[in-house]
Amino acid sequence: MLTWSLGFLILMVKLGAVLLFLLLAAAYLVWLERKFLARLQVRYGPNRAGKYGLLQPIADMIKMLTKEDTIPEGADRVIFLLAPAVVTVTALLMFAVIPFGGDLSFLGKRIPMVIADLNIGLLFVFALSSLGVYGIALGGWASNSKYSLLGGIRGAAQMISYELSLGLSLVPVVMLAGSFSLVDIVRAQEAYPFILVQPLAFVIFVISAMAESKRIPFDLPEAENELGAGYHTEYSGIRFGLFFLGEYVNMQVLGALVAVLFLGGWSGPFLSGPAWFCIKILVVALVMIWIRGTLPRLRYDQLMALGWKVLIPLALVNIVVTGAVILI
């Protein structure tokens, strides 16, 4: 019983730390994005709230928390109020199956650096990322506003389409690792990271992941120039903040997935596992921000065509070829 209590305590600390880290990292990812974009654009970016603008995320958060919560007339209240939560919850839960370091040991007990090493880990991730669509589609639909509706429709179509290429691109990874468990996938990369043997899968995955996270050049659901604010047009205050939070947690999760599936997860020389893991996430996130600062936006039909006519067939062919290579 004593070990159970101790274990429970340690577990709670670990879970709390992970959650806090995810939230803080999301907040500072916003800061990083604003600063990095600013530098790309020959500007400084926020630098008044705290040194280097380091308190900017805190200011934004407090501002949003104390802002009025508006609900448009004719909105489907329950769905409208809950939709932002769906996005954040799914994004945060996805992280549960991602291993962020090798095991630690404490009093002879093993403390795994993963919340839940499910044997269907990857499928769990897919399932949750499909659920995330509901937040966008329902939030857009429930608002009773046309910009929101259009954004919601775009979001739904885009996210479910890229769900397919996202999933199919990972089949070769599963074949190489022989498991859906993300811990096993990382272990399988001890010799070499999968990016070296599966560059095509890597490219398809990264493109699909960016489409899933709705960022330029795939930010159609909230394309500011076309739909104002898209699916979250009617959201104010922290409900809008939750959409925002979801997006940035999503970015971390996708970075983490890239790291785990293709870049060898937490492994790397000299530094500790979690440190390597964070560095890899950061690199992926920076590349995504860089792309945002560089590219224009696709049109809806071009986006769908890219997914269905290019990525999905390529992913399917990649599966067949990988299978043959493994068997040889």
């Binding site: 879970l15 959650l19 199956v97 009773n144 506003s145 509706l149 074949m175 006519k309």
Partner: protein
């Protein structure tokens, strides 16, 4: 690939369902607190104009409750088809080495069929989402 042993389900040392459940509770608690703050904190001043949906500053025409146009249903249907097929591919993927060449051949045939299906809807214009003027 260890099966989750029943006796270990409540063990806090194992990264299993228990741990996941606790994390879920934490996440839900956090998000619930945000939702609570959203509806509790902050001054509420509802006016008829504020309650009106935003549409570029104009009073909206008609409702935003419209049926989705047909192409969007098609996306949903295609997704369903391909996602179900994807599930089969996944179940083969974990066991591809055990199943050997026979499995590979069957799967290649299966994927080939899928591709044929994709080409079919492609040729029939099911994958054209652009405006009609560009569909020719």
């Amino acid at each position: 690939m260890q099966p989750i042993a029943c006796e270990g389900v409540l063990s806090p040392w194992e990264p299993g369902v228990f741990s996941l459940a606790l994390f879920t509770v934490l996440v839900l608690a956090f998000v619930a607190s945000q939702l609570f703050i959203a509806s509790w904190l902050g001054e509420k001043k509802t006016t008829p104009e504020k309650a009106r949906p935003y549409e570029s500053g104009i009073i909206p025409t008609g409702t935003a409750r419209l049926r989705y146009p047909v192409p969007f249903y098609l996306v949903a249907i295609f997704f369903l088809v391909f996602d179900v097929e994807g599930a089969y591919i996944f179940s083969w993927a974990v066991a591809c080495e055990e199943l050997g060449w026979a499995g590979w051949l069957q799967m290649t045939f299966f994927i080939g069929l899928l591709l044929v299906g994709l080409v079919y809807i492609w040729k029939n214009g099911g994958l054209d989402w652009g405006p009609t003027s560009k569909k020719e």
